[in-house]
C-alpha cells in the first residue's frame, strides 16, 4: 500500500501499515521511558554506523547519536500512526548529519599515498587490519571531496544496504531519480579517486 503523507521533514511514503515499531512509538508518545529505551536499543547501532560513515568521524558518533535521538524524542508527537517509523528515523538522522557536515569548516586534506585500488586490493582488505585501515583512510579521503547528499545516498545504499523502496521512503525521491543520483555520486567518487591518484603519484 502506497500513500504519500506529509511529515515534519517533508514527505514520507508509507510502504506498509504493519509497522513493527508502531506500538513502541505509541507508548513512547505517551511518555513511556521503557518504550523509548526499546526504540533506542533497536536503532542506536544502525544510526551510529550511519552517522559515523556519513561524517567519517566515528569519535563523534556518540554525540551525534545523542543529538539525533534527543531530536527524535521531542518530535515523537509528530509521528503519525499510518506512516512507518523507520524511514522517518533515518530521515531525521540523515538530515542531522548533513546539517553537521554543512556546519563543519573544510579541513585541510593530507595527501598521503593513495593505494592503487583494484579488485585484487579490495579482496585482500578483509582479514588484514592494516589493509582495512588503509581502505577506511581511502574512503575518508574520497568522501572529503563529496557533497553531503552524495555521502548520505552512498552510505544508505552501499553500507546500510537499503533497498530503493526504503531509500525512496526516506528521501522522498522516486526510484528513477534515486538511480540517477546514485550513479552520479559513484562517478564523482571515482573522479575523486583518479584525482587523488594523480596527485600522489606524480
Amino acid at each position: 500500500m502506497l500513500a504519500e503523507t506529509a511529515l515534519w521533514y517533508g514527505t514520507v511514503t508509507a510502504v506498509d501499515s504493519q509497522d513493527p515499531d508502531q506500538h513502541l512509538v505509541v507508548r513512547a508518545q505517551a511518555g513511556d521511558r521503557e518504550a523509548f529505551a526499546a526504540i533506542y536499543s533497536r536503532y542506536q547501532g544502525p544510526i551510529a554506523r550511519l552517522a559515523a560513515n556519513i561524517t567519517r568521524r566515528p569519535n563523534e558518533a556518540p554525540d551525534l547519536v545523542q543529538e539525533i535521538f534527543t531530536k527524535i524524542y521531542f518530535s515523537l508527537d509528530r509521528v503519525r500512526s499510518d506512516v512507518p517509523f523507520r524511514p522517518w528515523l533515518y530521515r531525521v538522522a540523515g538530515n542531522h548529519c548533513l546539517d553537521y557536515l554543512r556546519k563543519q569548516k573544510r579541513q585541510p586534506r593530507t595527501d598521503s599515498l593513495i593505494p592503487e585500488y583494484d579488485d585484487g586490493w579490495l579482496a585482500s582488505t578483509g582479514p588484514d587490519p592494516a589493509r582495512k585501515s588503509e581502505a577506511r583512510d581511502l574512503v575518508d579521503k574520497l568522501f572529503h571531496g563529496l557533497r553531503p547528499r552524495d555521502r548520505w545516498l552512498l552510505v544508505m545504499k552501499e553500507i546500510e544496504g537499503l533497498s530503493l523502496d526504503e531509500m525512496a521512503a526516506i528521501t522522498g525521491m522516486a526510484h528513477s531519480a534515486l538511480k540517477v543520483a546514485l550513479f552520479r555520486a559513484r562517478k564523482r567518487m571515482q573522479k575523486q579517486y583518479q584525482m587523488l591518484r594523480q596527485r600522489t603519484t606524480i
Binding site: 536499543s41 551510529a48 560513515n53 566515528p58 547519536v65 534527543t70 582488505t125 530503493l164 571515482q190
Partner: protein, 143 residues
C-alpha cells in the same frame, strides 16, 4: 530488458541470468552503471567505519535536562510576552496615581481656602487653573 529494469536489478544486488548479462553486453551506459555500482559498493564495504551511541542513561539525562530547559524557556518566554502588558498597566497606574495625587492636593487647597473664607469663587472648584500665579489664583494679585 529495459535499462531501468537492469538498473533496478543492479541496486537490488548482483543480477543473475543471461538476460542482464546480454543487456550489459549491448548497452554501454548500463555496463558503466553496473561497473560504478560494483566499484563503489566493494570500496565502501571495505572502508566502512563503525560508531557507537551513548548509553541510554546518558541520553535520558540529556533529554531530562532539555525538558527542564524547555519549561524554563517556555516560562521565561511567557513572561517576556507579558512585559508590554505589565509596562502598560504600570503606566496606567502611574497616571491614575498622579491624577489622584493632584486632585487630592487641590481638594486640600480648596479646603484651606474655604476655611480661610478668602474667596467664594474657589469654594466649589476642584481643579483651579494651575497656569496662573498662586497670588492670582488666590485673588491677591491684580496685574
Amino acid at each position: 530488458m529495459k535499462c531501468s529494469e537492469f538498473r533496478e536489478q543492479i541496486e537490488a544486488g548482483a543480477p543473475t541470468g543471461g538476460e542482464p548479462r546480454r543487456h550489459a553486453a549491448t548497452c554501454r551506459s548500463c555496463a558503466e552503471y553496473a561497473a560504478a555500482a560494483g566499484w563503489s559498493g566493494a570500496l565502501l564495504q571495505a572502508g566502512q567505519t563503525n560508531g557507537a551511541g551513548p548509553s541510554f542513561q546518558r541520553l535520558w539525562a540529556e533529554i531530562q535536562r532539555r525538558n527542564e530547559n524547555n519549561w524554563a524557556g517556555a516560562l521565561s518566554f511567557s513572561f517576556m510576552r507579558l512585559v508590554p502588558y505589565l509596562a502598560a498597566f504600570s503606566l496606567i497606574l502611574l497616571v491614575i496615581g498622579t491624577m489622584g495625587y493632584r486632585a487630592g492636593r487641590h481638594r486640600n487647597l480648596n479646603t484651606v481656602l474655604w476655611l480661610a473664607g478668602s474667596s467664594r469663587q474657589f469654594a466649589g472648584t476642584i481643579a483651579p487653573d494651575m497656569s496662573k500665579q498662586p497670588a492670582a489664583t488666590l485673588g491677591l494679585y491684580q496685574p
